[in-house]
Symmetry: C2
Subunit: 224 residues, 2 copies
């Protein structure tokens, strides 16, 4: 199932990993659920070796855990994990914003403007899912504009786990009408090439929202 824009055929283990990854981050494979190689072999019609390679990949990405001679499990995010992901994303976002501002090119500015306008337009609707997606895409674009390949990799790993968390919590955004506007200052800083401001704004950006979510998580965990 190669991307339509490319001719190159990907090996089965990569294809399988891609499908499994999407199932995990979208929540259609529940967090904490068990995966056995035999079942996956039937499901995907490839051999155990190939399935194993795919699971190894996802294991290295932090999406599944492995217990020797017993099985594989989709990760489950607890309060500590959420805290870690939140803090990690903050600094990665900050670096991305700084570099994007410092290395901005005309084409990048156009893309950024377009993504921002798109998000703002969606915020006038009630489609929470679409808004969340556009939010993710805007941040991914900033990371991409940083011109930092490894940052993109690290960011991807972090975002994947955050998506697992969101899917497992089914947490709703409280005020999706304002999401667009809350990005205004950050986008402006990048467009004006102010790296310092961009980094600071990116780090502040989701701080309050994230902190509140995590502390509420801690509460619910204590009740168990």
């Amino acid at each position: 199932m190669p991307a339509s824009s490319t001719i190159s055929k990907q090996s089965f283990d990569v294809q399988t990993a891609n499908i499994l990854r999407e199932m995990i981050v979208s929540g259609s494979l529940e967090a904490g659920s068990r995966l056995t190689e035999a079942k996956l072999t039937e499901q995907f019609h490839v051999s155990r070796g190939t399935i194993r390679a795919a699971l190894q990949k996802l294991h290295n990405e932090g999406l599944v855990s492995q217990v020797p001679y017993t099985g594989w499990h989709v990760i489950a995010i607890d309060a500590q994990d959420a805290w870690e992901l939140h803090n990690l994303r903050r600094v990665l976002d900050g670096l991305a914003a700084r570099l994007a501002a410092e290395n901005l090119k005309p084409e990048g500015a156009q893309q950024l403007e377009a993504a921002y306008q798109h998000l703002c337009k969606l915020c006038e609707t009630d489609d929470a899912k679409a808004i969340a997606n556009a939010d993710f895409e805007l941040h991914k674009l900033i990371v991409s504009l940083s011109g930092h390949r490894r940052l993109q990799e690290h960011y991807k790993l972090t975002e994947q786990q955050i998506r697992v968390f969101i899917a497992s919590c089914d947490s709703e955004f409280s005020d999706y009408r304002n999401i667009g506007h809350r990005h205004a200052a950050l986008v402006q800083a990048i467009l004006s090439g102010d790296g310092d401001a961009a980094e600071r704004l990116a780090k502040e950006h989701n701080a309050t929202q994230g902190d509140a979510l995590i502390s509420s998580l801690r509460q619910t965990e204590l009740q168990k």
Copy 2:
């Protein structure tokens, strides 16, 4: 070849990956050199499947690259890579220092003090390698004191590639006598629990040294 402190036996693929990883980051396996599964099979006396699993692991860690149906190569770090690693380490170090300062416990303070003293003592000798190692260890300790498992993972990946870079460049530290003192303010900030200062100092810490190294790299690359 499990760690001496633990009873659990690790599977062959993990053991093989550990050995190969050490060979790569130590430079005994040259950057850019080719690895074939057949050769490694002979060398380690395990099957190709196991070797493959190990190589996959290292591939996901960014230490080897893979070209379909042709082979595996140890990564080679160029100026762009060095720039990326330098920037990435800066923010990871910054976050680690902040969290370490904010969550410092008495035991952690002791360890930190000890590691710092150790580094300072070594700086009075001429053993550049030992000094560099103690430097690495001090930073790793700070990351560990952050209590952030994922940060530890991301930092490890970054540090590994930096070690490959250092091994391939064989770059000497210019003034290893001052390395100890350059850590003084950072260590002090963490010990006093000042997260803001700790983050700022950590980010400034290696900035000048890193920037100079990278720009000199860019020069040498242009000459080719």
